[in-house]
Structure formats: structure tokens, C-alpha cells
């Protein structure tokens, strides 16, 4: 699905090489979109879903993303579902965005643009330092109050993914009941891979009222999180690395 990705690059020494790295990162995103678009009937993913391509003929990217999604399904005991479709075809779209941003970040770093934030429609990949003596400060948007933050996470070389029950028009389904998930307004997961954080956040939303149990287990595995329920309760896992503002805080006061 079409989305927008922002790049914030700091501390550039060589503008020519940074611009060239940025161009490569953006070309990469276009390539990912060509491969995984569910809007383009001739994209590789659409052909895979129709059974037009044998598994041993998948591209390296397709194999990597589907393997990753299958592992996220295993780690979440099926809360994240790779094959939720009635026809049983794989749908890795829940991790593609984070995976693409992870790779875009590596492209920037390799090109000398080491301090950057890649924001893929609300899923954030951070690298390097935005300034001397500081790391990146990422606000977590309050799902019930527009223009207000519910937490601030300071850190770098991490991914921060947030999912809600109505992400870009496709409702996340509770894999146990097959019904649209309810109970979680927003789940945010922090960890070393944005792709996995993205999948885990989606899994938490699909668990609805039972999300906390899953998130406690993920926290122990090194994936801390923040949960805002439909009725406005705010819960952070034991290892959540940020300042939480249950009542919300305007960004200029943070």
C-alpha cells in the first residue's frame, strides 16, 4: 500500500555523498513498493498470492520477508498471522514497511549519512546521534488525543513501531476469532529491528484485551512496549525505555 517515508539526516560532512545515499534509499523504497504492492496486480507479491510463482523462484527479498514474517508468527504464538487470508496465501505486509525502513537506514549509514531518523508512516528507525551529547527523542502520538504525545523515548540504533486497530484502512483481525480486533487503541514496540517491532506491535493489536500478556513476554525477550487501550488506559512494560505521560503532553512541553 502506498505510504510516505520521511528522512531526517543530521551532521552531514559531505553533502554530495549524503544526497547520493538518500537517493539510493528512496530508490530502494520504490523497489520494495514495486515488489510488495497489493495495488499493482503484477507485483511479485500479488503473483505469489495467486500461486503464479513457485517458491524456489521467489526473489531474495520475497523469501527474506516471508521468512521473517513466519518467525514473527512463531514468536507471537500465532498472534501475528502470515496466512490470515481465506485462500491461505502469505501476506507479509505487516512487516514489510519496518523491514524496508531498516534496510533504508543501512543504506544511509553505508553512504556516510550515519545520523538519521527514517520515519515510515509512524514507524521509526533511528541511527547515530542527532547532535553532540544527545540521542534521538521520539514522541509517541496519543491515539485518543490529536496533537498530543503519550510518551517520549530517548535512544538510538533502535526501531520504534506503533500499530493501531485501523491501520491504513485494513482492520487487524484477531486470529482466534477471525473478527476485527478490539481493545487496543495503539501498541508501540521498541527493539533492535524495526521489522520485528512492527510485527510485534501488529500482533499486540490483534490480541486485543489480552495484549498485555503477549507484551510482557516480548519485554522479557528484549522488546519493551507501551499500550494504550480503547478506554484510555496507558500501560508500559517493565523495560519500556521512555517517559510516559498517561494524560498526554503537548510536544512543546516535552
Amino acid at each position: 500500500m502506498g505510504t510516505a517515508v520521511s528522512f531526517d539526516i543530521r551532521g552531514v560532512q559531505d553533502q554530495t555523498s549524503a544526497t547520493s545515499a538518500l537517493d539510493r534509499a528512496v530508490r530502494w523504497l520504490h523497489h520494495v513498493d514495486e515488489t510488495f504492492s497489493t495495488f499493482k496486480s503484477d507485483s511479485e507479491l500479488m503473483r505469489v498470492q495467486r500461486g503464479d510463482i513457485r517458491r524456489d523462484c521467489w526473489s531474495v527479498e520475497m523469501s527474506e520477508v516471508i521468512e521473517l514474517a513466519a518467525d514473527v508468527e512463531e514468536q507471537t504464538h500465532g498472534a501475528y498471522q502470515l496466512r490470515w487470508r481465506p485462500d491461505g496465501a502469505p501476506d507479509p505486509t505487516g512487516v514489510v514497511k519496518g523491514w524496508a525502513a531498516d534496510r533504508a537506514s543501512l543504506i544511509l549509514t553505508a553512504g556516510g549519512a550515519r545520523a538519521h531518523a527514517v520515519n515510515a508512516a509512524g514507524d521509526v528507525r533511528l541511527a547515530g546521534r542527532p547532535g553532540p551529547h544527545r540521542v534521538w527523542s521520539t514522541g509517541i502520538a496519543h491515539p485518543h488525543r490529536a496533537g498530543v504525545l503519550v510518551a517520549v523515548v530517548d535512544g538510538t540504533d533502535i526501531g520504534i513501531a506503533s500499530s493501531g486497530s485501523a491501520e491504513q484502512g485494513r482492520h487487524i483481525v484477531d486470529s482466534r476469532s477471525g473478527l476485527p480486533a478490539a481493545g487496543v487503541a495503539s501498541a508501540t514496540v521498541v527493539g533492535p529491528s524495526l521489522a520485528r517491532a512492527d510485527g510485534y506491535a501488529t500482533a499486540a493489536v490483534s490480541r486485543g484485551a489480552d495484549a498485555r500478556e503477549l507484551l510482557e513476554r516480548l519485554d522479557e525477550a528484549g522488546w519493551p512496549s507501551l499500550l494504550v487501550t480503547d478506554n484510555g488506559e496507558v500501560w508500559a512494560s517493565a523495560g519500556f525505555p521512555g517517559q510516559v505521560y498517561p494524560d498526554g503532553i503537548p510536544p512543546e512541553s516535552a
Binding site: 513498493d33 531518523a117 527523542s137
Partner: protein, 173 residues
């Protein structure tokens, strides 16, 4: 203390599906200018109606063009401004339609982003709608000297869709 070698806030929305947006916000660096351009294809980035000049570059790729802009080297010497101003990006055509956005600046702070023109047919409108929450997140981040970026689910995407429509309605009156 802001290092003078810092580029300021160099923000490019490299959208998927042929939509790219380049903005520069010299955040906290003493400058009060911003450039917004939205487009792809062979369109050029035009200078904004802003209190200082900007340079811009445009790079073509096989999938369209990426517009990226950066502040002039003397950004820190630009006169500060405390007034509210609106900075319009050029209306630019890309394969799916024409899009134009506008930033509202209050002094050095970006207080809002508006869509002046956007495609209205299903697929292109979807792309534009998906881009808006990203811009809104950036606006949120730009309101604080301490927040660099914002993570958030597009939970209220319907509200954003409505705001796009409102902006569209306004633009067509």
C-alpha cells in the same frame, strides 16, 4: 548550543508510489524559512514565498524524481521572524495527479500543514491521504525543540482523510 556545521533539519518525504516531498526546516538554527515541494516526474522545485532564499536540487530516478532541498550555507545569518506566514509549495504534477501543500509558520515554528491540491480519484487520493499523517507527525515534532520525530499509528486516518477533503473543498471554492 547548535553546531554551525549542522544542516538543520533536512527532511525528505520519499514517498512510495511516485510521491516525493522535500522540505527543509532549519529547526532551531536561527533561520525562518521552509520549502515544501511535492511531486515526481520531471517537475522542478520552485522557490517558496519565504523570508529567506533556499537552494534546491532535483534528482531523477527510474521511478520518478526525488526533490531534496537544503538551507543555504548562511542559514544561521537569516533574520529571525516572529510573524505568522504561509509557505506554499509549487503545485506539481506527477503521474497520478497534481498536489500542493502549504506550511503555516509561526515565527520559526511550523504550526500546521495544509493540502491545497490533491488528486481525487481513488488510488491517487489514497496515496495523498497516506502521506498526510506523516506530514502531521513531522509537524508535531517540529513544534518542540526536544522532539526529533513522532511514532504513531494512523489510527485517526479517517480524521486526516476528512481534513484532506476539507482542504480540497476550500481550495475549490
Amino acid at each position: 548550543v547548535v553546531s554551525s556545521s549542522r544542516l538543520g533539519r533536512w527532511l525528505t518525504l520519499g514517498g512510495l508510489l511516485g510521491l516525493s516531498i522535500g522540505t527543509v526546516m532549519a529547526k532551531g538554527a536561527g533561520a525562518s524559512h521552509a520549502t515544501v515541494s511535492v511531486g515526481a516526474g520531471s517537475s522542478s522545485t520552485s522557490a517558496p514565498t519565504s523570508t529567506s532564499t533556499s537552494t534546491s536540487t532535483s534528482a531523477s530516478t527510474s521511478h520518478g524524481s526525488i526533490s531534496s532541498t537544503r538551507p543555504p550555507g548562511s542559514a544561521t545569518t537569516s533574520p529571525p521572524s516572529v510573524t505568522t506566514q504561509k509557505v506554499s509549495g509549487a503545485a506539481e504534477s506527477f503521474p497520478y495527479g497534481t498536489i500542493q501543500v502549504e506550511l503555516v509558520l509561526t515565527g520559526r515554528r511550523i504550526s500546521d500543514v495544509l493540502v491545497l491540491q490533491a488528486p481525487q480519484d481513488g488510488y491517487s487520493a489514497q496515496v495523498a491521504q497516506n502521506a498526510l499523517p506523516v506530514l502531521r507527525n513531522e509537524v508535531l515534532a517540529a513544534q518542540s525543540a526536544h522532539i526529533d520525530t513522532v511514532s504513531g499509528a494512523s489510527y485517526d486516518s479517517q480524521a486526516y482523510a476528512s481534513s484532506v477533503q476539507a482542504a480540497l473543498d476550500k481550495a475549490h471554492i
